[in-house]
C-alpha cells in the first residue's frame, strides 16, 4: 500500500497545471506560431502533462521505484521500436527529396 497520499490541495494544484498547459497548447496553435515551434512546444507540454498525471494521479511518485519499471519498460521499448521503423518508412523519402 502507498504510505503517503497526496492531499486534495495537491490534486487541485496539479489539475490547475494541466488546464494551464492545455490552454497554452491550444493557444500556440490558434495563434499560428511557426510549425517547428508548435511541434517542440506541444511535445514538451504533452510529455509534461502525461508525467504529471502519472506521478500524482496515478501515485507513481509515492510508489516504490520498482513499480516504475512496469510502465517504464514498455515506454522505452515503444520509443525504440518506433525509432527503428524510421530508416525504412521515413528516411528513404528524405533521401529522395
Amino acid at each position: 500500500m502507498t504510505t503517503t497520499h497526496p492531499t486534495a490541495r495537491t490534486y487541485l494544484v496539479i489539475y490547475g497545471w494541466l488546464i494551464g498547459l492545455t490552454i497554452l497548447e491550444v493557444g500556440v496553435v490558434l495563434a499560428g506560431w511557426p510549425q517547428g515551434a508548435i511541434v517542440t512546444i506541444l511535445i514538451a507540454t504533452a510529455l509534461a502533462k502525461a508525467l504529471l498525471i502519472a506521478l500524482y494521479f496515478m501515485h507513481l511518485k509515492f510508489d516504490r521505484p520498482l513499480v516504475w519499471l512496469l510502465p517504464g519498460i514498455p515506454v522505452v521499448l515503444g520509443i525504440v521500436f518506433v525509432l527503428a521503423l524510421f530508416p525504412d518508412v521515413v528516411f528513404h523519402l528524405v533521401q529522395r527529396m
Binding site: I73, P74, L77, V80, F81, A84, L85, P87, D88, V89, F91, H92
Partner: protein, 573 residues
C-alpha cells in the same frame, strides 16, 4: 468463491479452477493439433502428387474437384495449418495447459491470482476458435493469405474478398486477448503468490520459462493486435494503412510497416513458444539425471538476455523485403548475438547430464529429443541470419524446415514431455510407458525424415507455399523428395495415433498414480495425484531449490523435496 460451486456447469464448464481450465486448454489444443496435422498431410499429399484426388477423405473435403486439392483450397490449407498450429494448438497446450496447471501448484498457491480472468481467458480462446472454424463455412471459404497475414494480400478486398479472411483475423485477435489475459495471470501469480521461502532463486525453471514467455506476450502481442485491427480497417472501412501503389484508394500507406509490426511480435513469438519448453527441459533433465540443474542462475539469466534480444532482431525476417540494407546488416549482427546465451544454456543442459544417474523414462526421451532437434533448429537458424545466404533461401523450404525444427519438432516434443510427465499428476493415472517409447521413436525418426529433407529441398530453391513444384523446370529433379516427405509425414501422423490411444486408454484404464511417481522435488509433487481442489490447505514452507537430487549426505534416497525441513541443513541453496 468456492463452496457453492456444485453444479456440473460451474465445476467443469465455467470453472475458475486453474486445474479444470488447464484441462480445457489441453483438450482444445489437442483437438486443434489433430486438425492442423490433417491439414499438413493434405498439403504434403498435394505436393507429392499434385492435383491427384486425395485418397479416403478427398471426396468429402473437395467434392467440387473430384477429391483433389484445388488452387483455391491450397492457400487455405497452409494458412489454416499455420494459424491453427501456432495459435490454437501449441499456444493452448504450452501456455494454456502447462502454465495453468503448473504455476499455482509449483508456487504453492491455492489458485491463480485472478481466477475469473483465467476462466475468461479460456472462453476468449474458445470464441476465437469458433470464429476460426466458422470461417470454413462462409462463401469463398477460409483465409488464404498465409498465417503471417501479409498486407496488402490480406488487407485488400480486391484480391481476397471473402468474409472468411475477416473471421480468421478476428479469431486471431480474440486468441491474442485470451493469451494476454493468461499472461497477466502468470506474471502476477509467479511474482506475487509464491509460498514463504520460495525465493526467485528457488523457482522451477519451467516457471521461469513461462514467466519470460508471458512477459514477451504482454509486450509484443498488443502490437500485432493493433496491426490486425488496421488490416481489418483496410479491408472493411476503406482505409489504406498497409495498401500502396495502384490498389490504394488515395495516396496509401506503407506496405513494409505491416511486416515490421508483425515481425516485431512474430520473432518473439518463436521464443514465446520455446521458453516454456526450455524451462521444462531444464527441470526434466535434472529430475531424470538425479542431479541439480547445472548452472541454474546462468540459465535463467540467459533466458532473460534472449527475452531482451528477441525484441530487437525481427528484421532478419525481412532481408528481401526491400528494407534498407544497412538496417538489414544491423539486424544480422544483433541476431547472431542470440547464440551466446543460447550456447550457455545448451551447455548447461549437457552439464546436467554429465555424471548424472540418468533414467530413460518416456518424458526423459522426449526431453532428450528436444535437445537433439533444437540443436539442429538452432544451428540452422544461423544460416538464416546470414543476410546474403538468407536472400537465396528466404521463402524456400529451407526456412520451412528450420522453423519446423524449432517450432514444430522442439515445441511438440516439449509438449509431449509435458503431457507424459504431468499426466499422473493431472489425471491421477500413469500413462503406458511401452506405447510412449514406441511413440517417441517413431515420431523421432519420421520427424527428422520430414524436416531435414525439407531443408534440402530449400537448398535447391524449392519455394514455400507453392501448390505444385512440377510447374517449374528447376524443381523437377527433386520432385521425388516431395513424394518421400509425403510418406514420411503420413508415418509421422500415424505415429501420433499411438499417443492419442495411450492418452485415452490411460485416462480411464491407466494404473493409479502415486503422489510423486517421478521422485521429483518441486512443490507440485508434494500434493496428491490429482491434487485436492484447493491444492494446499496451508501455504507450504519452502526450504530449498527444486533440484536437490543426488544429495550426498542423504542415506535414504537421493533427493530432497522443497518442503523437506532437512533441506535447510543439507541442501546447498
Amino acid at each position: 468463491m468456492s463452496e457453492q460451486r456444485t453444479s456440473f456447469i460451474r465445476k467443469y464448464i465455467f470453472s475458475t479452477s486453474h486445474k479444470v481450465i488447464a484441462i480445457q486448454y489441453l483438450i482444445t489444443g489437442l483437438v486443434f493439433l489433430a486438425m492442423g496435422g490433417v491439414m499438413a498431410l493434405l498439403i504434403r499429399w498435394q505436393l507429392a502428387y499434385p492435383w491427384q484426388p486425395v485418397p479416403l477423405i478427398g471426396k468429402l473435403l473437395f467434392p467440387g474437384s473430384g477429391g483433389a486439392v484445388t488452387p483455391e483450397a491450397y492457400p487455405v490449407l497452409f494458412t489454416m495449418h499455420g494459424g491453427i498450429m501456432v495459435f490454437f494448438a501449441l499456444t493452448p497446450i504450452l501456455l494454456g495447459a502447462m502454465g495453468n496447471y503448473t504455476i499455482p501448484l509449483e508456487v504453492g498457491a491455492r489458485d491463480m491470482a485472478f481466477p475469473r480472468l483465467n476462466m475468461l481467458s479460456y472462453w476468449f480462446l474458445f470464441l476465437g476458435s469458433v470464429l476460426l472454424i466458422a470461417s470454413f463455412f462462409v462463401p469463398e471459404g477460409a483465409a488464404g493469405f498465409g498465417w503471417t497475414v501479409y498486407a496488402p494480400l490480406s488487407s485488400s478486398t480486391a484480391v481476397l474478398p471473402g468474409w472468411g479472411q475477416d473471421l480468421f483475423i478476428l479469431g486471431l485477435a480474440l486468441d491474442a486477448v485470451s493469451i494476454l489475459m493468461g499472461g497477466l495471470n502468470y506474471i502476477t501469480t509467479i511474482m506475487q503468490l509464491r509460498a514463504p521461502g520460495l525465493t526467485l532463486r528457488r523457482l522451477p525453471l519451467t516457471l521461469w520459462g513461462l514467466f519470460y514467455s508471458a512477459v514477451l506476450n504482454t509486450l509484443w502481442l498488443p502490437i500485432v493486435v493493433a496491426a490486425l485491427f488496421m488490416v481489418l480497417c483496410d479491408r472493411r472501412l476503406g482505409t489504406a494503412f498497409f495498401v500502396a501503389g495502384p490498389l490504394a484508394p488515395h495516396e496509401g500507406g506503407q506496405v513494409l510497416l505491416y511486416q515490421h509490426l508483425f515481425w516485431g511480435f512474430g520473432h518473439p513469438e518463436v521464443y514465446i513458444l520455446i521458453f516454456p519448453v526450455w524451462g521444462l527441459v531444464g527441470d526434466l533433465l535434472s529430475v531424470f539425471s538425479r542431479k541439480p540443474a547445472f548452472g541454474y542462475k546462468a540459465t535463467v539469466l540467459s533466458m532473460l538476455v534472449i527475452t531482451i534480444l528477441s525484441g530487437i532482431v525481427w528484421g532478419h525476417h525481412m532481408f528481401t523485403s526491400g528494407m534498407n540494407p544497412l538496417v538489414g546488416k544491423a539486424f544480422m549482427f544483433l541476431t547472431i548475438t542470440v547464440s551466446v546465451p543460447t550456447a550457455i544454456f545448451f551447455l548447461n543442459w549437457l552439464g546436467t547430464l554429465w555424471r548424472g544417474a540418468i533414467r530413460l523414462t518416456v518424458p526423459m526421451l522426449f526431453t532428450l529429443g528436444v535437445v537433439f532437434v533444437f540443436a539442429i533448429g538452432g544451428l540452422t537458424g544461423l544460416f538464416n541470419a546470414l543476410q546474403t545466404f538468407d536472400v537465396y533461401i528466404h521463402d524456400t523450404y529451407f526456412v520451412v524446415g528450420h522453423f519446423h525444427y524449432t517450432l514444430a519438432a522442439s515445441v511438440l516434443f516439449g509438449a509431449f514431455a509435458f503431457i507424459y510427465f504431468w499426466f499422473p499428476k493431472i489425471f491421477g493415472r500413469q500413462m503406458n510407458a511401452r506405447l510412449g517409447r514406441l511413440h517417441f521413436w517413431l515420431s523421432f525418426v519420421f520427424l527428422n525424415a520430414v524436416f531435414s529433407v525439407m531443408m534440402f529441398l530449400g537448398l535447391h530453391g524449392h519455394m514455400r507455399r507453392i501448390a505444385d513444384a512440377t510447374a517449374y523446370e528447376f524443381l523437377k529433379p527433386v520432385q521425388h523428395w516431395n513424394v518421400f516427405i509425403g510418406w514420411a509425414a503420413l508415418g509421422l501422423g500415424l505415429s501420433q495415433l499411438l499417443f492419442f490411444i495411450n492418452f485415452l486408454y490411460s485416462l480411464f484404464k491407466g494404473a493409479p498414480a502415486p503422489a510423486n511417481p517421478w521422485e521429483a522435488g518441486s512443490l507440485a509433487w508434494t500434493v496428491s495425484s490429482p491434487p485436492p481442489e484447493h491444492n494446499y490447505e496451508t501455504p507450504p514452507r519452502v526450504w530449498c531449490g527444486p533440484h536437490e537430487y543426488g544429495v550426498p549426505s542423504l542415506t535414504n534416497g537421493d533427493w530432497l523435496s522443497q518442503t523437506d525441513p532437512q533441506a535447510a541443513k543439507l541442501a546447498r541453496s
